[in-house]
Symmetry: C3
Subunit: 350 residues, 3 copies
């Protein structure tokens, strides 16, 4: 893809300063840009980059005062950062705008596909599946029987969706994610073995959700595991059966939510957090990375955390002492007693 | 699938109360049920649901006394919960009972498949592979050369099994799991780089094992990584080379077992636990979620744990103070010395 | 594969003691070996195994004195362990030396493949992809448009590489790993929802890197997420957008590196470590498993850690007391004050 400064200025409602025929083929940070790249300068702190960049075109704020000679073409706009974001999005939309059906792919005769779809080679669409419009199913995806996808859903390569799951509109699922695997439910028997508890529920993913690579979301035992609208899940996250993630909650990589737990709306959770089952986390909670949550959080909008880092030697020393804390407590109490006695005696003396 | 109250009562050895021709097409919890659903009531605490449910049929205990009018058809049985579990299992068996070979799939001429198999489209069965009876290989699975699968093995979509691994009977592996990837073995060299140690062993999975989505089990350097019978592994678990997981041990999501470690039988391990290499964990141990195990556990049947959670402000304060613990210890000892001196002096006074 | 003692001795520059026509078909540890196996004895501590092993051939050190009768054929070499490692590698090279193009596979007409390639069934090679020589692409892999692979690259089954990523020479990526998924970048809006920040960068993996099963490496927002030469990543690791992992750094399973963080060269990181974003870790740092790193580490070559394990009852007790640490501090300070007063008084007395 190749664009001129003139074309871009029309798109952004900006004005060109320099050669309007300057053309670019890629986007880059101003300090890393090479020839044929378009970049932007929003923060005046980085003005010096403007005079040394190799970018062919730089988008700048309308009111920027240029104090040294520039060799690149400028496009002046109201908000350089916002304008560049618009271009990033356009660029990605163009790049990811695949359509058509590659062969061989597997489309069950009873499945229904909406208009303008992309179905990659080796993608599998099972019986009674319904896909909305503009769905993009990359190669090696598996969509089990009776799954429903809304409009504008993208499944990147190798996503697997088990039977009966329901996916809303504008949902993006990254490569290798698994939706609807069996919940982890086993009943112990008297001889120490376990019987599987059949998992006949499903997963419901509402609109505007994004799910990261190799994340796993288990189906409910009965009923549904639910990911509410606007949720953003990072990579390698585990969501167990019958959990519910509230609207617009954001969870970083490698966190795990146990069965039947309800996370409220607009929660922000760091990476590698673990949450036990059958509890609820109040809306707006902010959980620090690596925290273990073993009870419900009822107050809304609070911060929670619990991890240490320190030099290994010091850590070993502190670790030993943490083990001695109960003993410490006794020693302090002993001291308090002794001092109290001393005081009494002294008061007697005086 | 559609069934009448009469048909279900025959299956469960129960008696119908109401219209024996009432038909249902799905299973649901009594409080979430809609028309055409079958549900159950086992716990008398929830009796009120019976009078308001929209379920068409409800399974109840023989001895339940109905105290208000019911609109649904009842089926009375000895044990309502047990009867419902039977139905759940039947339902799942029917639903997952795929057979036949979808095209295109890849079956090496030297591979042997047992009777009644399902081979999904884009599934790959390598040279010299042996599959037992009733195996269900979902789309996009990869079964490498010389792998053996027992009877009644289900590989859900996108499971990958490297060459030479051995899988027993009645094993279920969920989507995206990887069995037999190389162990993580590298020998440091004098210039700071690493040489790979070839990993020529395999993975052996015994009977009645279930393995979760996107879990990874590495092959042994030499010999075998072994998952004993009846083990249940959740999603996103890492089992390193030459580890052995004892019979009927259950491990929750995102836990990791390092190389050559032996976990005993009937261990229960929470999620996100980490276990170092070359140790052993005694049978019947119960490990709390997120615990780090850095030494062998020899006593059988004990509980172990080690995680904190607290409000973030308090956490930060405690964290600072934990770092000061070695200093605290000194201060307490100092106090004890001073008090001892004071006491001596006072004794001199008296 | 079948080899005689004579053939192996030529390969290892060793001398045969026993029947040079003894043949073997597999490699095994001396204590686990069965007939037709080749094994080795390097550590004199295990000499007794030599007299009871079922191996057909055992490689031993030149200077080993045999003190009891042996039934197997010996091959004497300068360094038994080193010689066996050479055989392990040969064995694996032979076994993994697949070539040819299996059908059906998908090779875009504009893609270029080097000599001696293996392309497994259901593998997908997108537009403008360039593969070097001796590349082995196992079944169900996905290589997106415009990806470049160097020479001697192995992608095991089901690896997914998004568009525009660049992979060097001698790189091995294990099954299910995802390279180039979108970075986790979302901008909050005033109504609590999030706007996606387009992720248009890529991932660069340099030479001699090995990446574990189901590991995920996100593409950069702009620019590149970079894995430097010689890096070894275990399974289920998360590398976030714009991170950089220094040359010859080794990271164990289930660790996570957040966005824009730079890990130095020759760092060794245990499993389940979490590192926050936008920091740097000095070269040669050694991080204990499960540690949380929330600030830059500037000193080179130090050890860091931070996890506890103890019996659950004791843990609960200590946990309660850790919460009381701020109170403890006050009590100790109070004690110090009182004792100071007592001392003053006593000095007055004397």
């Amino acid at each position: 893809m190749q664009f001129t400064a003139h074309e871009i200025s029309l798109l952004l409602n900006g004005t060109v300063e320099g050669d309007p025929n300057t053309s670019i083929s890629k986007l880059a940070k101003i300090e890393e840009a090479t020839a044929e790249a378009l970049s932007f300068l929003a923060n005046p702190k980085y003005e010096q980059y403007l005079y040394h960049t190799k970018a062919s075109i730089v988008i700048v704020n309308k009111n920027l005062t240029v104090t040294e000679p520039v060799t690149c073409t400028l496009i002046r706009v109201d908000d350089a950062y916002g304008a560049f974001s618009v271009l990033l999005e356009k660029y990605n939309t163009l790049k990811l705008n695949k359509t058509g059906i590659e062969q061989p792919s597997y489309l069950h005769p009873s499945a229904i596909m909406g208009q303008n779809a992309y179905l990659g080679a080796f993608a599998y669409i099972g019986a009674e599946v319904k896909l909305g419009e503009n769905c993009k199913i990359y190669p090696n995806c598996y969509v089990g029987d009776n799954v429903t996808l809304g409009d504008n859903v993208t499944l990147f390569a190798g996503v697997k969706i088990y039977a009966d799951c329901v996916i809303g509109n504008n949902v993006t699922i990254h490569a290798g994610a698994v939706i609807g695997s069996d919940g982890f439910g086993f009943a112990p028997t008297s001889n120490g073995t376990y019987n599987k508890i059949s998992q006949i529920g499903n997963v419901i993913i509402e609109d505007n959700v994004e799910i990261g690579a190799n994340t796993t979301i288990d189906r409910a035992t009965m009923g549904s595991t639910v990911i509410r609208q606007g949720v953003k899940l990072d990579n390698l996250i585990q969501i167990a059966h019958n959990a519910e993630i509230g609207a617009n909650t954001v969870i970083a990589a490698q966190s795990g939510i146990s069965g039947s737990t309800k996370i409220g709306e607009n929660v922000i959770m760091g990476g590698q957090v673990g949450v036990v089952g059958h509890i609820s986390i109040a809306r707006g909670s902010q959980i620090q990375a690596q925290t273990g949550i073993n009870r419900s959080i009822e107050e809304e909008g609070k911060k929670w955390g619990g991890v240490l880092v320190q030099p290994y030697q010091g850590f070993l020393r502190s670790q030993l002492i943490v083990h001695q804390l109960p003993e410490f407590k006794k020693r302090i109490e002993e001291l308090e007693k002794i001092i109290a006695e001393l005081r009494n005696k002294q008061e007697v003396i005086h």
